[in-house]
Amino acid sequence: MIKIENLSKSYKKGKKVIDNLNLEIRDGEIFGFLGPNGAGKTTTIKMITGILGIDDGDILIDGKSIITNSIEAKKNFGFVPDNPDIFLKLKGIEYLNFIADIYEISKEDRIKKIEELSEKFGMQTVLNNKIQSYSHGMKQKIIIIGVLMHNPKNLILDEPMTGLDPKSSFDLKQMMKEHAKRNNTVFFSTHILEVAEKLCDRVGIINKGKLVFVGTYEDMKKEFKKNISLEELFMEITEE
């Protein structure tokens, strides 16, 4: 579970990019975080993952504060950044071994996990190649395998569909569904409204640093009393 409490952030004095954000992502839920460019999605994700400092408020990952108990909080999530160009000079297997060492996964467990996940994502034959020789989708997959290796309760993904081919995108969505099915949390930001509409249990829409809506697509239609598509509703909400 991810709990965001009264979160605020300013880059310049007096100008809040995130303004008193409150949000709770429950166990077993896929949560889509939507918003126009510059709305504060990436800033929020960076604060949840400890990449960016927090001005006010707190973020709890399974009850552990990212401010006061950051190492424990970080053990409870896996993060897939928007840019998959990571450790390009390492071989896929070296990267996975490194991640397994950081999360202190035993030799037996890591072999089992790597075998299982690489087969699932069709990466068995390329693990011994350097990451720089991978395509965009393969890089994304190796990061996802790395993230899933320590079996985190919470999965956080920043724009995960960008640059993926239909097959990779489908595999990723399947993985997110399976992860949530095991009573885990999936939190991801996206621009692709169709994905959010079909995949998410709930969505949150952020605009100019403020959370303007949280709920299901049905809730949204009820709240705005309009039977229109998510895309049209999104435009209406964020244009105000």
Partner: protein, 563 residues
Amino acid sequence: MINFKKVKDLTIIFLRDSYQNMDIIDMEKHKLNKKSVYTWLSIILCLTLAILSYKIIKFLVSHGQEEIFLNIYFLILAIVMLFQTVLVCTNIFYFSKDLELVLHFPIKSTELLIAKFCTLLYKLYISECLFAVIPISTYGLLTNTSVLFYFYELLIILIFPIFFALIVSIVMMFIMKISRFIKNKDLFQVIITLLLMIVILTMEYKILGGIFVNNQQVESVTEEQLMEKIQEFNVRIQESNKYFLVINPSIHILNQINIYGIFKIIKILIINILMFGLFILIGKLTYLKDILKNSSYLISSKNKKTNLEKKCKKRIRGKAYIIKEFKSLFRNPMFFMQCVYPVFVWLITLIIMSIIIVPKAQIVFANEEFRSSLGNISFNITVVYFILGILQLLFTMSPASLTAISREGKKAIFIKYIPMSFFRQFVYKGIPQIFINMLSIIVVFSIIYISIPSIGIKYILMMFLLAILLNILNSYTMLIIDLKRPKLEWDTEYAVLKQNNNKMFQYSFTIFIIILFMYLNKILKDIDLNISLYITGIIFLFFIFFINVFVKIKQDKIFNKIT
């Protein structure tokens, strides 16, 4: 026909792509920007260079041997230009990412080649501005020459590096042609640079061997004889400088200021034009073909199932992190060439110089009269600081810690979201630099142990320990600088290393350490050597302890630039 407008535009694009503004000039007020830290670092560097040049030249002028300064300085400048060109030219001409962005434009190979050459030349001019302008101008001031000296100085600074850039570029194109059988792009880049480096080092060995040829026993030395020896040495340097074609004419112009100097300038220009013609001719035949060949290289990858039982090893977190750091540094040809190669080059140079000079020096120093003429030379704290000072200069050759964070680029955020404390990551990230510097320490102390056995193993070990402490201090200070001013937004690996202004901090830190040694030498020279060494050790330990406590307490703040 070459379209020079296109060449100019391309050059500007290539340069802008890698340019980092230092904000030394306040563009609005057209004044020096006193708020920029780089302004002050530049002032410190310029002042240090000016003071050092002033002292050396003044000493030589007082002995009537000022000519030797230009002879040696131009030779050093030539070697620096050659090394610098070797380290960057393959990347600029063949492996930079900007090539992929311009190859689809209707540009002739010669236009691209000239634009790339201008980019290379620009980098050499920056080095010249830093290291040549002040010493040569100081020489002009102290030898009371006319205004014409500065006019010639300007012309020479402009045309001097062209010859060296052309030589290396032509050799590089030849090597590129004959080494195309290597299919791994990373390996290819390292091998090309290695081959070029061997060419330069062989040349260096020949030249130094030519300078220090005298094996005669020194019977007795009077001041006149010493001057004679210096004169002889000077002539041998001039002889060696002949190999570089443009050095002696340049020195001649600056030594004999008259209107005929312009003919020597024309001579250098003709040499450069002929070389440039050859460069264009070879480039026209091979350049574009070789670029296209390079861009189609793939990183060798054989798709086969991995034996996980064999490949999966559990390591402790610290060890895993350090191995990852080493792999990222050593497997990237650009990072390897900029952070590790220069250290190897300087160490090999040092070894070559020791092989050539030490036996001759031992013969000279074996003579008692010569020793007594130099006064009572004994091993003391001044010698210790001199050796540590040389090591400090060698530590400056590698920016491994200074770019440890910047090299990560946008993926540096990884540091922030893995469950490992920033302090531990800080400690691990400094280790590659410590390892690289250890090579310098081992080589320097091996040379000292072999060439001056009279120092004794006890003091060599004590100095060795001090050098290790200095090494740790260097590595972690540079890491803090990179954390405070990281360059995370970059497209080319070349930009993060060569356009990293933090290098100024590294130079300034070296100046600070040398000044500290001079001060400590002043206050400790009359104290027992053992106590002086202990005090120096305690000072280093204090600094290292301070850095540790500072990073431990302020770790969140120190890492807050990584977002």
